[in-house]
């Protein structure tokens, strides 16, 4: 019920002495809090029944060489109205320690370990200070996002071993899986502890694909980094590039033409449809039900070939540009897209009937890999996975971007949090996306599709933007550096938030069901590892 303004007043009443400054940043209220008081303020914001703020993003910035300070920012999403609220704090000079909020807020766990690895700042009171991104063979003292760390010197090697959490006792054994898996998928390590069949514990050890994306952004110009954003996670090309472009557009004060906003929504929905189709098929395949996999693979291929015909890229690469879109579609092409989808939708509906009529499939999917609403909320889980567990969140509706102001989508919501719920969210979203694409084709205005950015943003100003990609909420924070370069770019794929939640969803399930559960989450390794 609380919007950001009442939240501010409430926080000011409760913690007036801790709050140093209140300034908004692109419409989002920002509170500067005294470092040592931040955990209390965050805890209040997180637990107060009126506010119930979920931690959406936590990032750090190294302000050198301009100022010798680190800044930590905590972005909260308030319940009900989904308003954003920012808490910021500074670490002046040589300070390296800051109090951790993790004991109160689960969702901060990986973010804090990430900050420790990338900046060398140490969260005090954090329950788990093992390395996360820096695998143990990275040399001591290598913190890549510090400004004095050279971006292009390849890391050396030292000896080291990762210590997994260990459960000991009679009949308990460990099953290591990865980093290289049996299928055509990305690398990641999973360590199961089992006694008999059920999983007692799963620990995820990722970041094998860490390519230094955020540091690479810092070497680029604001207007030239879209190709890199497209390659953060290849399957979410449109989502990532759109989130990046929007952040830069806010910084450069560019008004995107209305037609371009419609086209952006169109491409984002196309991406959602082909990925969801692939996921539905892959989930059936993991229950050894090959028929829907074949049908879904065929329909997905149809859309990817359509992408190739209209945009020249199967992944819609090169579509988004700072200031608009790089290609315009003719009326014939728009009609062609809708005609193709008009063919696919009844085809897909028939397949849905086959799926729902299959009792053995339902048996495999129901009550498998349950992520409860409480756990989902504690970990601030989002996107498809969140909506299957009753977390009602959809950036397209809550903070409309592109054409969604004019074409509001219906958010799909299921409560059970099992594999079947996650599949049903995808099934429903496919229909919803097709509906949106039809509306876009009907209502798309004429006009230009690109505004060239002219202004060079002031050094040190920053902006953030959110996009509902097909997996969930993608966040970008972009800070301008000198002469139109990027000072800092924080990339947050929904996978980074949702990965830890799998560790809870698999508990009590058997290992043979893990591939199915993992597929129903279908998270990106590339977008997580950066």
């Amino acid at each position: 019920m609380a919007d950001a303004q009442t939240a501010m007043t409430q926080l000011k009443e409760a913690y007036g002495a801790s709050i140093m400054e209140m300034t908004p940043i692109n419409g989002t209220p920002r509170l500067r809090v005294i470092k040592d008081d931040l955990p209390q303020v965050a805890h209040y914001l997180h637990t107060h029944p009126n506010l119930r703020g979920a931690l959406s993003l936590l990032w750090a910035v190294d302000h050198r060489p301009r100022e010798t300070r680190y800044e930590l920012c905590y972005l909260f999403t308030l319940s009900e109205r989904k308003d954003w609220l920012l808490l910021c704090t500074d670490l002046q000079g040589d300070e390296r320690l800051f109090p951790s909020i993790t004991p109160h807020i689960h969702a901060a766990q990986w973010y804090k370990r990430e900050i420790r690895d990338m900046f060398g700042l140490i969260p005090q009171g954090h329950p788990d200070l093992r390395r996360l991104i820096r695998h143990e063979h990275w040399p001591k003292g290598a913190h890549p996002l510090k400004k004095d760390f050279p971006w292009d010197r390849v890391l050396g090697r030292q000896q080291g071993e990762h210590h997994f959490r260990r459960i000991e006792g009679e009949g308990v054994f460990e099953v290591p899986v990865g980093p290289i898996h049996a299928g055509i998928i990305e690398p990641g390590h999973f360590r199961f502890s089992v006694a008999g069949e059920p999983i007692m514990q799963l620990e995820i050890h990722h970041f094998w694909k860490h390519r230094g994306v955020e540091k690479l952004f810092e070497q680029q110009e604001l207007t030239a980094a879209t190709p890199l954003a497209e390659r953060v996670s290849g399957d979410t090309t449109v989502g990532h590039s759109l989130a990046y472009c929007q952040a830069v557009e806010i910084l450069m004060d560019v008004e995107v033409p209305r037609r371009a906003r419609y086209l952006r929504s169109l491409f984002l929905e196309l991406e959602r449809v082909h990925n969801h189709l692939g996921d539905v098929g892959a989930m059936c395949n993991d229950t050894a039900y090959a028929l829907p996999h074949a049908h879904c693979g065929r329909m997905k291929e149809q859309i990817m070939q359509l992408n190739d015909r209209v945009a020249g890229s199967r992944f819609l690469r090169g579509v988004n540009r700072v200031g608009g879109v790089g290609i315009d579609l003719t009326r014939e092409q728009l009609t062609q897209i809708v005609a193709e989808l008009d063919g696919i939708e009844p085809d897909f509906t028939e397949l849905e009937r086959i799926l729902f009529a299959n009792a053995s499939l339902t048996d495999r999917l129901e009550t498998t890999g349950v992520l409860t609403e409480r756990t989902a909320w504690d970990h601030a889980v989002m996107g498809v996975v969140g909506r299957a567990s009753g977390v009602d969140q959809d950036i397209r509706r809550d903070h409309p971007f592109a054409a969604y102001v004019e074409l509001p989508p219906k958010a799909v919501l299921y409560q059970y949090g099992d594999v079947r719920a996650r599949m049903r969210v995808r099934l429903d979203e496919i229909h919803e996306s097709i509906r949106l694409i039809r509306e876009i084709e009907q209502g798309i205005p004429q006009g230009p599709v690109l505004t060239m950015p002219t202004e060079v943003p002031v050094q040190g100003t920053w902006a953030f933007s959110a996009v509902e990609g097909w997996r969930g909420e993608i966040l970008y924070v972009v800070m301008a550096g000198e002469q139109g370069k990027i000072h800092r770019c924080k990339v947050r794929d929904p996978s980074f938030v949702n990965w830890p939640a799998i560790q809870w969803a698999v508990l009590g399930n058997i290992i043979p069901d893990f591939p199915l559960i993992n597929k129903s989450f279908n998270l990106s390794y590339a977008g997580n590892d950066l």
Binding site: G234, D308, R314, F315
Partner: protein
Amino acid sequence: MFRIIKKSLKTGVVTGKYPRAETPVVPVVQEAKDKTKLFKRSLTIREVDTGSCNACEMEMNALMNPVYDAERFGIHIAASPRHADALVVTGPVTVNMERALKDVYKQTPDPKIVIALGDCAINCGVFKGSYAVTGPVERHIPVDVHISGCPPRPTEILKVLSELRDERRRSGD
């Protein structure tokens, strides 16, 4: 049951419904073709991702869908490198994956060929120069075939793979 049969009959055969590929940018060298002669008419592939953006993985997966159906050319995906004739490597080699790649290479029985798939595997692509990227695949293990593109289309991958196969047919084994 009838619903399923009806659906299959209505759909018909979709295999082969894709636009033809152009000739690959990097031609397949003769040595690679000679090496694959031993595998006769099948090629069992193990895919290794060493840091790609996962678009190449999606295209490899697409190869196995009913439209491309690479199985009809004798191309299989193996679950273990120990069962593979060919390694397909995607992505620039990250510092964290370097050792895993070398292990996989060692575990693949000889004779074997290595295919670098996508621009990143060939020259690191947009990730070139990063502190976390140790260089293209060629720096770590010998590469026989290059398939460029970001990502290469399934038709382009298929074209190269079938070129390796055509050679075998001509040599008459």
